[in-house]
Assembly symmetry: C2
């Protein structure tokens, strides 16, 4: 059931995101994408320079899903909300985190970074600590999301986890126990907890110079 109507850049990017959301990034080819859109493969090249530019445009579309900062909020609170919104957007599109740092950021991704720097500037953190804070928050969001999505691979994440657990329990008991903690579900707030640890750590670092 190919979509019809006039071809344009936005329709191409939206179709590509939809395709990759369901079938994975390896399933994206210019030919299958054209099939979904009901056009010839080469028609796509009237709207995107090449596949790389398409992927960059797809990441920009994901960046646009992330909630803008709420200007009336306490800056550290706003940073916290932004981090959570970013994680949510990356979780909705499990392929995006892996590619997030692959190409030079476009306007949407650059705006995200500018906004985080703005929020940090509105805190009373020193410029030096704010610089580190920028990286600390970004590293956490990206690193956590990659780890979470890496664990949730395949059609049945729980089965994947249990199979891995069974395979390693003899040689790596602590890791098997760690996985059990995840399976027991009492770790769902790790992202927020570590985020708070970082935000409080920044404030403390600043106080001590």
């Amino acid at each position: 059931m190919p979509d019809r109507g006039p071809l344009n850049r936005d329709r191409i990017v939206a179709a590509a995101v939809a395709l990759v959301d369901t079938d994975g990034v390896d399933a994206l080819s210019m030919r299958t994408l054209a099939g979904r859109l009901g056009c010839a493969p080469m028609s796509l090249y009237n709207h995107v320079a090449d596949k790389d530019e398409l992927l960059t445009a797809m990441l920009e579309a994901i960046a646009d899903e992330i909630e803008p900062p709420e200007p009336d909020r306490e800056p550290l609170d706003a940073i916290r909300a932004r981090a959570i919104s970013t994680r949510d957007a990356l979780a909705r599109h499990p392929w995006a985190a892996e590619l997030w740092q692959r190409s030079v950021p476009g306007p949407a991704r650059t705006r995200l970074m500018e906004e985080l720097l703005e929020m940090l500037a509105r805190t009373d953190l020193s410029p030096r600590v704010a610089h580190h804070g920028f990286h600390a928050v970004n590293n956490h969001v990206l690193g956590y999301t990659l780890q979470e999505l890496g664990m949730n691979m395949g059609d049945d994440p729980e089965k994947t986890a249990r199979d891995f657990q069974d395979a390693i329990v003899a040689d790596f008991p602590l890791m098997a126990a760690h996985i059990q903690q995840h399976l027991d579900g009492d770790t769902s707030r790790t992202f927020e907890l570590v985020l708070d640890l970082i935000l409080e750590g920044l404030a403390r670092l600043d106080r001590e110079g």
Copy 2:
């Protein structure tokens, strides 16, 4: 100048790592790799099941480069040293961080995780905080490395950074200033600083329950 001698799994993996270190992960094909090794493409399949297994084996080889924990060290110090050694290994192989979470970990990568959990167990952190610490440290190492390598793209990283800076300075002044801080080189210890922030934050989190 193809290497000669009998083909085996280790030679294939080593040649693949060398190829990808210099030419990037997109340059890795079974055909070019076979060319480097002086064998037919299909000969590789006598030693690896497919390209995916080869990539997994390459990541295992990188994991084996990471220094084992020094058992006589203070646990938090040992964790710190391990994090730095991991970052160094990933920096030597700029393609590896992107793939790190892509497939189910093999024995070498699982051993790394087990060892981190062992070091955490040797601290006096509560099991709950140790669980979060595992993720906090791993997220930071992976997230930081990805960010650092993302910035150092292309043949001339400094030129890439300056070009990006020029392109965005009008719309995103804070981001341009942030890049300037990197170009000035006074941010080289961000990785260790944020790492220490996390480790101290864990100890504090524990004290407060």
